[in-house]
């Protein structure tokens, strides 16, 4: 077996299958998030200030274009996969047996709830014309 080099990340799972696919997807979503999450943070925390982003600002400015709704929904899908698969690795490292089952079940339920809530609001929030 060849040595699996790593200095900070999870070692590439041997044997392939689902675990190897998740390992690759963590890296693919990570690169995509490098662009999307940092762009999102740059726009909403540096170019704009949180103080001006009330609910009507989101409806009238931020989500008045389909582009930014698609952008934010894509970011949501990427971050849900990456963050929940990441915490899944952490749980698997520290919890065993029944506790691990309980924590992972709760984790997946939260992920499904956030998928539903986030998708619903980004698709159904009415566009309010500015003014």
């Amino acid at each position: 077996m060849t040595a699996r080099y790593t200095r900070a990340g999870r070692a590439r799972p041997a044997g392939g299958g689902l675990e190897l696919m998740i390992w690759y997807l963590m890296r693919v979503t990570g690169i995509a998030l490098f662009v999307l999450a940092l762009t999102h943070f740059l726009i909403l925390h540096v170019l704009y200030d949180p103080a001006e982003q009330d609910a009507s600002w989101i409806a009238q400015v931020r989500w008045s274009s389909l582009f930014w709704r698609v952008f934010d929904w894509s970011l949501l899908m990427l971050v849900l996969f990456h963050a929940f698969m990441g915490v899944r690795t952490v749980v698997a490292d520290y919890a065993r047996g029944g506790l691990r089952t309980v924590l992972l079940t709760g984790l997946y339920l939260i992920a499904i709830a956030l998928f539903a809530a986030g998708t619903m609001v980004v698709m159904t929030l009415p566009v309010v014309p500015a003014g």
Partner: protein
């Protein structure tokens, strides 16, 4: 964990990556809930936003940005070493490069985020 194991920069890079990752996960959970409120209960969202925009909220915002930037930069470092294993020989130099970019990019961003604490809300 951090105090007991003396593994050097590689171990610290891993620990910071894990801590920042879990912190960002926690904020993502909160953030999807608050954005859901924009549709479900806009007044509750605006009340929560006032907390985000408060001085304490801005410190948290800057810490979130720091966690995000470190996790993003060190994540690229991990990917580089995963796919070009020969470069893991230079894992320390790559980590120091991450920190250089972290401070060059992060300090101006932190200044912009924190500035309204002493100058008042912008615009």
């Amino acid at each position: 964990m951090l105090l007991r194991y003396r593994g050097g920069p590689g171990m610290l890079a891993w620990a910071f990556h894990r801590i920042s990752g879990v912190a960002i996960w926690a904020f993502v959970v909160l953030h999807v809930i608050d954005i859901y409120l924009v549709g479900g209960n806009p007044q509750a969202y605006d009340d929560l936003l006032a907390i985000y925009a408060s001085p304490a909220g801005r410190v948290g915002e800057a810490l979130l940005g720091a966690a995000l930037l470190y996790h993003a930069l060190n994540g690229l470092r991990i990917i580089v070493m995963d796919f070009w294993p020969a470069l893991s020989r230079y894992h320390r130099q790559l980590w120091y490069l991450c920190w250089t970019i972290f401070f060059v990019v992060g300090l101006p961003v932190a200044y912009i985020i924190l500035k309204p604490i002493w100058e008042g809300a912008p615009r």
